[in-house]
Symmetry: D2
Subunit: 486 residues, 4 copies
């Protein structure tokens, strides 16, 4: 990975990574395992140290035991890694806690490559303590001899007003270029690949517009239910939890114009630009659902109208996309786990062939990453030459790229934070633009207390969703399903 | 194969197939095996009979033994098939021979579904006896109670004047719609698929023009040498033997405009149209080669300048193709056996990606039929997201369509003759147009006695060919070769 | 006119032009005046003679006086011209009449450049005597020492069957390349210019398709009523009299693909091709009208349902045009006299401008030939820069090309006959294809005895026509009308 | 002008316009006449006052007499206008001068619609006192009860470093949205019209790219020589004085992508974006010239290498424009006065027409504003229908829009300042981007002391320029010149 060595991570300075909320789920399931994998792959600087911070009183040995639990590797590697991991108990809003932590880190930094040191503050904490922590860190936790970067996770507010407030509060404490807002979908292999596919392959260039594309469906399906997150989830619902961020980020990458160059700001300029060209979603273009049994969860109010499923149509008013519906669909408790982008092309005008069905380009984000183009071929053999069958040109990652696993999104993103590359993080104006698209619709659903349609767990979701999708021009083809070729 | 049943083959009439030249190579290697396969697949009418005609005195049992040798199937099937096969010895130009044969066939026809009968005359004979046979057949061999169809094989003349003469002579005897001129490349699966690919898939429609395609290379490589055909071959050379017919037919299908409908005449109208838009090839756009040792063959003159290899550039002067060279390349004694069409797209204009190489759509005609699109993807993993690698979307027939073998071109074409479908046969105006493109160059090469460049057997052919190809805009990419995925 | 001299008209052979039906309206109003203008412009060969043939007994001096009446020029020119004009009285179906005429012509030809002579037979006669004359001419009137060409005028049948019969009958007498079927719209300046506009101007090339064109309206409006032609007209009606020929010929030129080259057969191949891609018109896509008072004409039956006005939508099922309605509209007794083609473009997708109306390219065929593009500009001056107004880029012939009058269509077409250029004449397969589009609808209207909508003379025609046109996507813009700028 | 009334100019607040440098040329020739015209057209608020500020000691009556000299209107109008004009003598860097002026203005404002007041500071001063004035104004001249806007004129530095410094210095005193950087070309009617032409007319949309455009030439020609500006001009030269600003602004409007909406920041975002996609100009793509006699001017150094003429090629590396040279050409002492944009389209690929020359879309900015499309038509008349002639579709303003004169650019721009519309002013990042394109080339020309080519006054400039232009694909057509049609 010569490239990675080039983009070296400040080799002359110490690096301390503070995981705020170290005892929480996110930290244990995502942050520490990702850091461990980077460590195993020698992508963490030798001198880096990792500082867990949380309210719980935990002994360092217990803490290390906890984080080992979700790490995959040899015992030697785990031993070496946890030696770099420390734990500090403190209050989230306490300047003195962070002052104390900072002094501890400074001593360690001094011993390891100091005196100059850089620090990353990874905020693995609930939204309600967000600003408090940010303020306390700003008050006393920052390095004074190197850079400081703050990694934050969604939710970034729950509507336009609250998002703006959060942006403003953080903006008073940190420069925009110190902030790394994670949308972990931006770290997924197929999503990272979108810019390459679109702008390094001439064959997609003339196709990528309203003249040839009928509709685009971005799907996120989970087969699991709430998994203990009911309390959090019910306050947000699937539209805020998944659609407004993950699916809209994918939409932006699919729909954006080519950037001037591939640097972070040019890429994000274009993402913002296309988001600003989207009309606010109207309620008529939305179907919401709630799986049967949702309200039985003790953490869910009896009269909850929180959607666990939603389909919504985004309309982009620009030269490239006017008239092409971007259909976002996401849900929990469905029949499968899958995230994919499906670009359905138009019919061939005046085609002499009967029975031709539409081409589709499918980007399967997870699981089983793949890119395939559904297309028509002659039925092989002695049939009439105009007898058609659906086939596909296929690029399935596991088959094409054998002998390795793709990195987790968090590994890529934490590495980007260390290297100072903002390309795959969400800029504040993207947040603003995305909330402008969703807020009026969300508020109207809530104001009118629109009840979501009930659907059975393990089903495809409400039929109303299919009706909406077909009304927007999607033609479901029968008799074809892609088979994982490996 | 419901479709085939629809297009039923005159079930109420007898069918006699006369294989003129039945003792020759073509008949044994191609015609009889193809007829046998059709028979096995129940695609030959029950009442069909097959009448070998040649000069040699062979006993029917010996003849049947001979043709069995190249048939693949069970003994029962072979037994059943050869029961339908008869042999008649006669002179090619003898009206009385054909009169006699005709009477024999009439008796058989009478017994099998007659009195009404259709007849196919398959001319598996050398060009010098062509017209004689046609005339003798016309004089006395035809069915008077059904249709008569005449199947002819290349060569269709050796230049414009001789081709015109042949067309005229045949035209005095037969209607154009009685003639089925075989170019067996038109019967190959991937070539048959070309119209489907181009006109039933929207994704290829906007790509298929000078704005996006840099160049097209149509390649035919044989690793074998002369295999006993030296006497014939030296009179024709590779340009007449392969390029002017097989490669030009593929060019026509790739370059033609969409037909009004998929019927034979509309398809052939468009093929003629694009051939007429081709400028005559100029000598500067041609490289010829001759493999070392060619002239050692006893059947080859010592001073032969007959090319065994040629690369030539065809330029199409129309709105779609002006400026896109169609590069035809064919040769014997090369490093591999392969026939393919390679469409190389242009660079992405203003691409932000460095190191992107061009997309290519490859149609691999033989062996190992496949369609694949070379394209760029992000190097999977933690590399910079703008690090590119060449990959491909692939449709390899053996992998995708398992459990069957593709039919031989001759099976398809003979079936088409029985069904009366001219789509995949060469019309006389196509011949005329193709010869207009090649004749001036061929005559100039001969007039100036241009010596072909010598090349080693088992090599890629002369370097001069690569120079010509690169001068025409083809960019060879290094570090990539498609791997047969099955 | 160097070009014309190049295309010289057989200077070594005599030329006799026979005007059959010389005493009729067409001959007097169109044929003779056109011949006279060619003569004045030295475009008639010196040795040419013109032979009127008709049933009436007229003295040569009277005949010359009659034709002088509609000629415009000096007395000297008229004197010189009528010296070449002769008259012969005979029966249309009489071989002996034409034999006699032929002998007379031969004597004259002998004296003027003979013995070799070419002859043009201009059929200015009613349809019912058409074949009789053609047969009689064929029997005895032809030149035996040069070419013979036959010029015929519509109607070419009244439906598919009658047209086929006529084609077949004429085909038994004359080769297709001896026949010049006049559709005089093909001789009009702006119609002749269509191929140039479309294929010599890059700026129209990318616009000319379904991605950019919303609809095309081809309009033919007459303000006159029947003018004594009621007897003839009522048998045919406006659809057969104008739409199926003149408007369809314009449609073909607008919609056809680029020809291989500009020769007559390539051009007509493309016209046929696009006509064959048109679906038969359905009755639902037709509005017919009849002006009030039509049935008061003594030559019109009391219960006539013959339309004097019609709007019909032609749908072309090919790659270029699927979804673009070609709207044909024609009528008598309307508010103005005008023939034009109006190509209305689509809206700008995602346009930031409000109030923009659609671009239109208008080809005004008559009167006042002009080409103009309606477009939006900023309101000149200090208004907001996004305030729009409709303007146009204009090319009006009388303003741009001063000091000359454009030739009449007949002059051009007769000149083409003399030069042997078929480009602007209708080939038999065009007739066939055009009748296939119209015949089912015409027969259904007649079978169901559909009554045309009544409309007031001097009006815009029935409102139902506007409804049909708007339903097909045409957007009428208000507040704009093109002003003739000279 | 209902639109203008809508966009009302703070009717409830007083407005003071300070013209700093009131005794200079720019103020007298442009600023005061423009203000007067706005006044005449009732576009200046009733309560506005205009305060000249300069170093010279002039009596108010004399000052008013001076400014009257270049005003066109009735004596009554002039009387009324000058009553609003005051004069204040002061030092440019003097805070106390501006404090004093401010107090005087406050008294007047108080009497006219106050106490709330807005102020415009129009900087009609040399670059060397620019920052001093800005600082002094900021120190004491601003309104404290309304908005303050600062209008500045070029030059905005003389290279990237000096421009950045200026931007930074001004940025410390004023917000970007208080600054109105004038490039008066942005106020010209045809330039204002560019966004409308491009984005409100579908017919231009598919044409506007590398597939159809061969090259773009933006020309600025003056017939005058130095007119007393030699001292200033010699320090800057034509590239800095005209090309880097006026011509690049036009380039940006022609080449930019469509903005999200038509507001100032979206429009300027796109202008910046396309400027950033331009490669720095290389010296090989530049021809410079100096008219004979230039160095005879007493204010010009004897060895001056300052160009009075330049042609340079800008290359835009993006998807739309790669490979399309944008040729900028400007000079003094040439054969005519003209500013125009000429977009030359490519040849028609595979055109059947010989002798077709390229289409060109010409936007004539001054004098005689016009838009015309050069195109090919059939030679009217009886010529062969494939005989072509160059013609044009034309929109000449004086002919189409009679009865009014177009406003001067300054009127439009000052009105925009009053209305707070930044669309037609240059943002600081545009400056930065434009200087990045020009600075390396300018520095290299100077470092190597490249001598400009000498050319005769009243000529077309150096031949080397034509060579460069033709090398970049421009095809000069002969035998055609557009004639002003009014």
């Amino acid at each position: 990975m010569a490239e990675l060595q080039r983009a070296s991570i400040s080799p002359d300075q110490a690096l301390s990574i503070v995981v705020v909320g170290a005892s929480g789920d996110l930290a244990k399931k995502k942050t520490y395992p990702a850091l461990f994998t980077l460590f195993k792959n020698k992508l963490l600087p030798d001198h880096a140290s990792i500082w867990g911070f949380a309210r719980s009183a935990i002994q360092i040995d217990d803490f290390r035991k906890q984080i080992r639990a979700s790490m995959k590797g040899s015992e030697e590697e785990k031993d070496a890694f946890v030696q770099r991991c420390f734990y500090y108990q403190g209050a989230y809003d306490s300047v003195s806690s962070f002052k104390d932590l900072s002094e501890k880190m400074a001593l360690y930094e001094q011993d390891h490559r100091g005196p100059s040191a850089n620090r990353i503050f990874y905020m693995a904490i609930p939204p309600n303590v967000f600003v408090d922590v940010a303020r306390a860190v700003h008050g006393a936790g920052l390095s004074t001899s190197g850079w400081n970067r703050v990694v934050v996770e969604k939710p970034f507010g729950h509507d336009l007003a609250s998002s703006r407030q959060l942006v403003q509060q953080m903006g008073e404490l940190y420069q925009e270029d110190q902030l790394y807002r994670i949308d972990h979908y931006l770290g997924k292999e197929l999503v990272l690949n979108l810019l390459v596919l679109r702008f390094a392959n001439l064959v997609f260039v003339p196709l990528w517009n309203r003249d040839h594309i009928s509709n685009v469906i971005i799907t996120f399906k989970e087969d699991i239910l709430l998994e203990g997150r009911a309390g959090y989830f019910d306050k947000f619902g699937i539209i805020r939890d998944v659609m407004q961020n993950h699916l809209m980020q994918m939409l932006a990458l699919i729909a954006m114009e080519p950037p001037v160059r591939l640097t972070a700001e040019y890429v994000r300029d274009e993402k913002v630009k296309v988001l600003r060209a989207c009309a606010p979603i109207v309620v008529e273009d939305v179907v919401t659902g709630q799986f049967e049994g949702y309200k039985d969860d003790p953490d869910v109010p009896e009269d909850s109208i929180t959607p666990t499923f939603a389909t919504a149509v985004v309309r982009i008013n620009n030269l490239r996309w006017e008239g092409v519906p971007f259909i976002l669909k996401c849900g929990k408790g469905l029949n499968e786990r899958k995230a994919e982008v499906r670009i359905q092309f138009k019919n061939v005008p005046g085609s002499p062939f009967r029975g031709a069905v539409r081409n589709e380009l499918v980007l399967r984000v997870q699981p089983d990453e793949a890119i395939y183009m559904k297309m028509m071929t002659k039925v092989p053999g002695l049939n009439d030459f105009e007898d058609l069958t659906q086939s596909e040109m296929d690029l399935t990652y596991k088959k094409r790229y054998t002998g390795g696993t793709l990195p987790d999104a968090y590994e890529r993103l934490i590495l980007d934070v260390m290297r100072g590359d903002h390309t795959h993080f969400v800029r504040s104006d993207e947040l603003e633009a995305a909330w402008q698209i969703f807020t009026p619709m969300l508020h109207e659903l809530e104001r009118r207390r629109v009840s979501p349609v009930s659907y059975k767990p393990k089903s495809r979701g409400p039929d109303e969703s299919d009706v909406l999708i077909e009304r927007n021009g999607f033609v479901r083809s029968v008799g074809y399903s892609w088979t994982n070729p490996y």
